[in-house]
Each structure stands twice: as C-alpha cells, then as structure tokens.
Symmetry: C2
Subunit: 360 residues, 2 copies
Amino acid sequence: MSEDLLLMIPGPTVVPSRVTRAMSAPILPHRGKEFSDMFVEQMDRLKKVFRTKNDVYILCGSGTAAMEASLSNTISSNDKVLCLINGKFSERFSEIASNLKANVIELQFEWGIPVNVKSVKEALDKNTDIKAVTMVFNETSTGVRNPVEEVGEIVRGTDAILIVDTISALGGDVFESDLWNVDICVSGSQKCFAMPPGLAFISVSDKAWRVIDANDSMAYYLNLKNYRKDKSHAPYTPPVSLIYGLRESLDIIDEEGLENRWERHKDMANIAREGIKALDMELFCSDEAYCSNTVTAVKAPDYLDVALLRKTLRTRFGIEIAGGQAHLKGKIFRIGHMGVISEREVNSVLTSIELVLEEM
Amino acid sequence: MSEDLLLMIPGPTVVPSRVTRAMSAPILPHRGKEFSDMFVEQMDRLKKVFRTKNDVYILCGSGTAAMEASLSNTISSNDKVLCLINGKFSERFSEIASNLKANVIELQFEWGIPVNVKSVKEALDKNTDIKAVTMVFNETSTGVRNPVEEVGEIVRGTDAILIVDTISALGGDVFESDLWNVDICVSGSQKCFAMPPGLAFISVSDKAWRVIDANDSMAYYLNLKNYRKDKSHAPYTPPVSLIYGLRESLDIIDEEGLENRWERHKDMANIAREGIKALDMELFCSDEAYCSNTVTAVKAPDYLDVALLRKTLRTRFGIEIAGGQAHLKGKIFRIGHMGVISEREVNSVLTSIELVLEEM
C-alpha cells in the first residue's frame, strides 16, 4: 500500500506539495502591512474565481460557518425563507434557518433529482414576502448539479436574495456568481481549491448588503458588517498559515487558467462516469445533464457491500472514496474528482474498483 | 536583518519547526477512524492543559469564535450578564453579550488595574439573577493578570456561571479551571500553544451544560450541543492540518511538562520586567503581583515614539513587538513572551530596545 492515502472523497482533497510548502512559512504579524497586503490581494483574486464584482470575504471556519453567515446576517425570526432541498447540504440551510426561528418553506425534491425550477417559481409567486432563497449548486451528498442560473433568473425579479452554496464546486466547475444573479455565494478551501480545510469564502451583492444593513443580526464572529468595516484586516485573528496556502492555491489556479480548470474537471467527471457505466453500474443522479463535475455518486449494485469496497480500496490500494450519507448509507458510493485530481488518479480509482468487483 | 521575523507580539507567536513539519502531513479523511482517534485524543490531552475534568471542544475559528460560543450558547435576550472590564478583550465579551440583546451590567476598571474582587461580590449580591459573569484572565491589551481564582470563589456560590477568556495565557501561565471554579474557559492555538491561528478551545462544566440545555440558542456552527452529540467527530469539517499541529504542540508541552512551562513563562516575564525597569521604564500594570507572565506592557516615556521604536526593531533587528490598542495607542508598547520563547529571545528584544533607545 502507498504510504500516502489518495483522497478521492468529495473533500477534503489531496493538497499539492506547493501548497503545503507555502503554509510552512514563518507566521507574519497579522496586523502588519505585509500580511495585510497579502490578505487583501487574495480577497481580490477570489473575486475572479467567484466571477463577481461583489465583495468576497475570507472567514476562518468550515463551509458551514459561511452557510450560517449567509443566513444569520440576512434573516431574523419570522422572516420567510424558501429552502430548495435535494440532499444533505441543502437540508443544512433549512436547519440553520429554523434555528434562527425563520419561517421556513421547504421545497423538497427527491435526492438524486435536480431542483425543479417551475416549482420554485410557483413558490415565489405564492409567497411574495420571501426574503431569501437557499440552494446548493453542487450537492456533494448526491452528485447532482442544480440549475442555479435558472433559479437566479427567477429570484432576480423578486425582492428575495438568492443564497447559493458552491462549496464543493467553486474553482472546479463552471460557476458565474454575477451572470447567474447569485446574491450570496459561499465556498470553502478544502474542495476544488485543493487546500486543507479551515477557510470559508463568502461573496455579498449590493442587494444582499441592503438586506444585511436593514437586518438586526445577533451574529458577532460571523457578522459580515465587521468584515466590511476595514477590509485591509480580518476583524479577528486570521489563520495566517492557511492564507499562505490560499495564495499558492490561487497561483496554481491562475497558472492553469480558471476555464481550463473547469474543462479538466468536466473531463475527469466524464472519465469517471463512463468508467462506472463500463463496469455495469448506474449513476445516482437521475439525469446525466445534471451530474456533478466534481463528485460522482454511484448506485451500489445489490451484490455490492459498500463498506467492504471502501475498506478494500483503502487497505489494498491506499485509495479513499466516500459512502452515502443519511438514508443513502450503504446504497451509494461517491468518488470525488476535484482540486488537482487528474486522469492518473481517476483511472487509478476506476481500475482499483474494477479489480475489487472482479474478486467479489 | 534576519530573514525570519522574531515575533515578540502577544500572539500569534513563533511556531517551532516541529509543529510546521507536523502540519505538512497529507490530509486524512476527516470522517475516518485514524483521524477521529487522533482528534479525540487531542481533546482529551487539552483537558490536562485546562486542568479540568470537563469536556473540552476544539473549534475551527479564532479565539473570538470561542468567546462568542461561551455566550451565544448560554445567554438569550434579556438575560443578565455581568461583564468585568479592564481592557480590550474583556470589553469584547460585553459587545458580544449586547449583540445577543442580553441585559449587560458592565463593571469597569481602569485599564492597567486588575479586576476588584470586592466590587464583583457587591454586583452579584445586588443582582441575584445574573446568569453569567465574564472576565479575561490575562488581558493581552494591558498585560494584567486578573484574579480569576478569587472571582471563581464568589461566583461558585451563586446561580451564575463564570466564563473566562484565557486565550493569551493557557499553556503558559498557571491556570486551574476546576480548582478556580471556571465554568466555561476559552483559549486559542496561536498564543502559548505556539501554533498558527485557526483553532479555538472551549471547556464546559456541568453547571454550564445545565444552563446551555435550558437555553434556546440560535447558534449553529458554534452550537456546543452539536459538538457534544458525537464527540468522536467534529460536527463540521475540522481544519485537519491544524489538528496535526496541535498534536505536535501538545507533545512539546508534555515533554517540557506543563508546570515547567509555567515556570519558564514566569522566568521570562521576570527577565522582561527587570530588563524594562533597568532601562528606566515603567510597567503599565499597576501592581507587579498582577503582571502578566506572557505579555509585558510598558509605559512609553515621553521622549519615545512607539511607532518609530517598533519600526526600528523590525527593520534593523527583525523583531516585531506590539503597540497599544484603542486609547493606549502610542502610550504603551507590549512585548509578548509566550509559547516557545526562551531567554535567548527575551534578551535579544531587551538588548535591541536598549540600543534603539540609546540612539534616540
């Protein structure tokens, strides 16, 4: 077995040695000019990855911290929130909103099926007082890529803001915050950025700022107004070494070119999907046009023990893939192909799965 | 000038290369057994540093995240909170409590003077419905070490819980969570643990859990109930590489011995204080018995331009010290001597300051 595990789970992903080395630099004083310049520069570079002219802030936390910030800054008790749900992470938005005592309208779709745009339009027509719509672009739990552009087109014409979680796709798959009318977009470091976990990113449109300014938020650590006040410094001590890693990760993205990176992720997803089908297995996503380009979810055939497959891949080949979450446990497995993953690694997983299946 | 800056600010501190190297290990799957075992082990080892039998949780965030968690989990609107304030960080507790719409009673003491225990007793006697008392053990902004033990003895006999920020002292100076009756204690990675910023730690007593369980918290990312639910995993993706660093940092603490580490910090503080007095300067802390053992705040003599001193130390000697915060800007400077700082570095700062003063 290889000494280092090949991480093919949908995040955290393999971290390239360039990023690891960058994170080893001595800690700079976080209030000094040298660090401040670097910090501001990375926020600016993130805008290009988000494809936005809006502010993008760097939070110290997991992606969930940014998901909470998107709601705790905009929503107060009794505010109406429309949550589009077709997986574990879109469900999380609803949990956060309920926790904030919002009036939550859940629009549920079967896991594995993309959000239905027509139902969203109906819900918004019926409830003209909806303050925010939440959705996940790339449902990590199901491998489904939801139609954010189409939902954005609808929400745009209302007073509601559109909040989108792109944690497991940004920097990997095509995503256009501004063109798609996304008001608040949240992402994280440990997926397509190929960094360790610990940073979350959040973009805020003017429409969203107006909602935030009118809202009496109880958030403190995640209060976005505190981040806007002085953009040259994080309001609370930032994780300096991870910011070094982010700079290196953005260098790598620049060198590859964002569009090329999108193309590579699409290619890897195609190889994964074709490979799975060639092994006589079915994709979990109902419609290939909506399949994720960063994670492929596969229906486990009746004869397949997912836990055993994962264990064998881990112990014999040093490859880690993911199982299913919640009610999908044992029913699907998931292969992550995001970040710096290339053909070599995707082929390696497919070959290893083939060998395990043959032996079973 | 040295290539690597010698950080003598009160956090972040110099990170030893052992910790840096540890953080370079490949990312483990955060839901797998290997990582989980390591994560649980570090939570357990932290208890020894906190000197507590209570749960200690690891959060991904700055120390402020843990400060907010200590209040957002225990306090709801209109709850009475007594905030003992004698510096910037004790002030922050009050800001967080006000943000949560608590009924905040501020007990203000002059910056540089320790909390007066008698006034605390009077305030608690007068307000028997106080739900939480907040204080900072080691006020980073003033170099004052507050009498937590004495306050703990008073709060213990009431229904209130005692919340203490030990961010800039835990693992460096003597601190006894259980003996001193501290219900919630918060700390962070980038001070006496000599790690990069990004992790916060929080301990919770049974008395505090009863308050938390009876409280209807709106927190999600920082909701401590989510952390208690399954202690074998962080509820949200933890910053894996920083956890590796924490393990190494705790190894270093074990090798030195916690009590020896306390002793070393005390020795370094004595050298710093004696050195400053030998240079004919005055300590900012009103009473040497209450001077911090991790950061020394010095009154700037009239002739001294603090900004120029800091700049000269940085550019000529590669040493970074801190200035004053808020109304103390330009009036004091602060030397951090925490984490892995030894005589070599403290002497180096003192000699360099002496040389700069002579030339001025």
